[in-house]
């Protein structure tokens, strides 16, 4: 199924929540969704027989300067088609519904996005830091992050 057809199916089901799409001449065609609806969209694309996106390949956090975003790369094992879903949230209130109930692999991916960007996934059963130490302050992959001077008595800069 082509990206245009997938976009049409999503538009029929969720008219109004599709904010943007880029489907031609890009290696990864994407569809931008409003952040509050991502869980409904995720349940739909997982269960609908024409789409059946049962494999979340990757969930990444992004920092567009001024806003934070999440990108979901989906693949269907039965139909062998791919799509990318994007959401954007403001940096002051980075709350995104968690899709962990749909794709279990999102458990660790969302923990990584929380650890490095500070995105708060609502409904995640165990949202805590996964890569950095538990008492680390700050979220390093944000664009305005400053390297700390000391961590637990050790000097951090060169």
């Amino acid at each position: 199924m082509t990206a245009q057809e997938i976009h049409n199916i999503l538009n029929d089901q969720f008219a109004g929540t599709i904010l943007d799409a880029k489907l031609e001449n890009v290696p990864d065609p994407f569809v931008k969704i409003a952040a509050e609806k991502i869980l409904d969209v995720a349940v739909f694309v997982m269960n609908d027989e024409r789409l059946q996106f049962d494999y979340l390949m990757c969930l990444s956090g992004v920092d567009y300067k001024g806003k934070l975003g999440v990108t979901y790369h989906l693949f269907s094992m039965t139909h062998k088609h791919k799509i990318v879903l994007k959401v954007e949230v403001p940096t002051e209130t980075p709350n995104v519904p968690s899709v962990e109930s749909v794709w279990k692999t999102a458990n660790w991916h969302e923990r990584e996005a929380f650890d490095l960007f500070g995105l708060n996934f609502e409904g995640h059963p165990d949202l805590r830091r996964i890569l950095l130490p538990d008492d680390w302050e700050g979220h390093p992959l944000r664009k305005d992050y400053q390297t700390p001077e000391f961590y637990n008595g050790m000097k951090v800069p060169y």
Partner: protein
């Protein structure tokens, strides 16, 4: 036995200093703590394997720090790991030595500029005796570092006070 049993044909009484004997015993049987963190660990494994064979120098890897003499810190030391390295170093009994292998544990390596999570050199938490440069150092370079450590041990003296 190597060299010692060829020297003395008539008698089997050897006269030497206590320092010589202890140093020779220590440098010939440096039990290594298996401490591979990242890519340098692969080169350390290659140095222990058949082509370069560190075991002929008496360097046997031991899993527990309580039974080893030398800790070869090979790989990137993150800030999360640094407190664990300090704890493991404290658990090693004296005389203990540290070889810092590779540029990440020497000075932070390729992560010196932007690595917010990397400890720029393991000598910020533990005292290091020998630094082996390279990214990663070839197994021969690691064995040269080991020989340099053996020369350092050969020149030690039990009556001379040490800094640490």
């Amino acid at each position: 036995m190597g060299l010692l049993d060829q020297k003395f044909e008539n008698s089997n009484i050897v006269v030497t200093t206590m320092d010589n004997l202890l140093n020779w015993a220590r440098l010939s049987s440096l039990y290594q703590m298996q401490f591979g963190l990242a890519c340098c660990a692969i080169e350390m494994m290659a140095a222990s394997a058949s082509n370069f064979d560190m075991m002929r120098f008496g360097v046997i890897p031991r899993a527990t720090p309580r039974q080893c003499d030398v800790m070869i810190v090979s790989g990137t030391v993150t800030l999360k790991m640094a407190s664990r390295i300090k704890r493991l170093y404290d658990q090693m009994p004296e005389p203990r030595y540290v070889i810092s292998m590779g540029s990440c544990s020497n000075c932070g390596g390729p992560y010196w500029e932007h690595g917010y999570h990397v400890l720029k050199g393991v000598d910020r938490v533990i005292p290091v005796d020998v630094y082996v440069p390279g990214c990663p150092p070839r197994p021969e370079a690691l064995i040269e570092g080991l020989i340099k450590l053996q020369e350092k041990i050969r020149n030690e003296s039990s009556v001379q006070k040490k800094a640490v």
